[in-house]
Symmetry: C2
Subunit: 343 residues, 2 copies
């Protein structure tokens, strides 16, 4: 332990509001890096005149060699390590690693909470999102799609479909919603454009991240649930567990057998049956529970409402009870012997 | 050399290997938020068929209300505060806040280094870059521009113009370059597309950040140097100093008078005279030194080569001697009485 200074974590006298912990965070390191990517060439495209603010234009040559499909990763390493492996967090479609940072209403997100529990935390922005950058139009198939102001509300079960612009002329959330609806716009500010054709590139970058970080626990959300399952198939020796927040496990008996040594849990919020998309996804995952069991593997589905936690949307890590859900995940990881002590 | 501040550069007692400190970082908080943005409406555009990976398409309706021009900010608050004000870091064009994180060769960047010195550090991604997201094509004027593999090398004085693909067929750096050239690709991975028409939106978001953070010291690079000067004019009571790494101060006697109470320093690396762009920029800034002095203000230009620091490119915060340059900035801030003690 020669690198660790002896540390006394002093409690601050005044507790900050809004559920912030008043204990210091002691880190043995923090930083960032990019993984993956490849050189791609563009040629034969005309030089264009790009408009400038003053009405003039600037010549832009879109040809040349570009480095594309790299992925940004930021990490925080706690002074006192409790998790047996690093925790690697992947976000959903149209979002970035900000998913796991401060909640829309200004409380600590899962990155902070698991860091405080003693996990090395790695948070990335998927290829073509956020700090990973995106590529010349002809290098990515298709165009980016943009989420409207009400898209997340209607699609991700903050309210019923169409409730963002309800007949009453104002947004209506599901009764007892756990989403901090007064700060809904702060979720919308987090949304970034996404392509619909980049899953394979995202997978390659995720695998590169796993190769760099080493054996790890994946905490994934939505779009990255499907990709995490593929990443585990690519690196079955390095993925030690998957905690999947409402993502789809797309597999069969063969994939389930290949991953039977990896504990997988899918966690669901409330009102799933009221969304055609999530009801279908849920049924797919239920089937994977049986398929996994039939080959001796373990896929669990955790329904928060069945545990008495009502009103959660698709964004478990951002909601009012996000710390409680983090504790539930922590307990599952302890049970799976993925921590260094029983806490 | 009337433009040079008098400086004593203290030698570091014991330089840790590769600039990594083995001391823990103790934080009283860390997190992120978005500032600014506005609702913009798109209507009348046709619904399009976006390609999916499997060859099918998905209907995408590009119309609706969107939240655009918001800006992402991440912050780290040290347990022991030394800076009188928060330090707000703004990056250059085609980059993100990653500029101030881990260097391309894996050492600590200025965010960590100033945090360790006891500054509250705020790092943002300018509007339309990184985690700030970008908008539907018709909401931003023009198109994004993309940097080729060799662009930063040739344009930002890692080597002479054209030296990335030299006659010898391989990249040639300036002799004694401080840039970690073996890891040049890690700088390229950080580059993100940028628009050329969004300075005003970036300024609005920066001002929103200042309003949220409160009185602060700005540490800015390249493109954000010009915008920082405008932000100071918009909030002359809140900007307490500007540390400008090779940005352009665009002002006149009137702006200089409005900002005469704000200490401003522009820091230059080496080989400036060999770049037409930077030579012109440098001359513009030299004029501002005189203009500021004529109205009783203070703009200083610090030439690192004149202090014996040779070989620095445009990326002072990423280079082998980045910790030494951070120390020089720290000493300037101490001299300007922007710290709580004399260290």
């Amino acid at each position: 332990m020669k690198h660790l200074a002896i540390f006394v974590v002093a409690a601050l006298a005044a507790a900050p509001a809004l559920g912030q912990s008043d204990e210091l965070i002691a880190l043995r390191g923090m930083g960032s890096f990019h993984v993956g990517g490849r050189v791609a060439d563009v040629s034969g495209r005309p030089i264009r005149e790009a408009p400038l603010p003053d009405g003039k234009t600037q010549k832009v040559d879109p040809n040349g060699s570009f480095l594309i499909e790299q992925m940004y990763v930021q990490y925080f390493l706690p002074a006192k390590k409790h998790g047996k492996y690093p925790m690697v967090m992947w976000h959903g479609g149209g979002l970035t690693g900000v998913t796991y940072e401060t909640t829309p209403d200004g409380r600590e997100g899962w990155a902070n909470l698991f860091l405080r529990k003693g996990w090395d935390v790695y948070v990335s922005d998927a290829v073509e999102r956020g700090r990973s950058g995106f590529a010349e139009p002809e290098l990515f198939k298709g165009e980016p799609v943009f989420a409207t102001l009400g898209f997340a509300w209607d699609s991700y079960r903050i309210g019923a479909p169409g409730s963002f612009q309800s007949a009453k002329g104002k947004r209506v959330a599901y009764p007892g919603t756990q989403f901090p609806v007064d700060d809904y716009e702060n979720l919308v500010r987090q949304l970034v454009p996404r392509w619909l054709t980049t899953d394979d590139a995202i997978l390659r970058a995720y695998v590169a991240e796993i190769d760099r970080v080493g054996p790890c626990v994946l905490v994934v959300h939505s779009q990255s649930g499907t990709i995490a399952y593929r990443a585990a198939l690519a690196r079955p020796d390095k993925v030690k567990a998957i905690v999947d927040v409402e993502g789809t496990l797309r597999g069969d008996a063969s994939t389930a057998a290949a991953l039977k040594h990896i504990p997988i849990i899918v966690i669901y919020g409330d009102n799933v049956e009221k969304s055609e998309f999530f009801a279908t996804q849920h049924a797919t995952n239920l089937k994977m529970v049986d398929t996994a069991r039939s080959v001796g593997g373990s896929v669990e589905i955790l329904e928060l409402p069945a545990m008495g936690l009502k009103g959660n949307s698709h964004f478990l890590m951002m909601e009012k009870n996000n710390a409680q859900i983090a504790d539930i995940i922590e307990q599952w990881l302890v049970k799976k012997e993925l921590t260094n002590n029983s806490q």
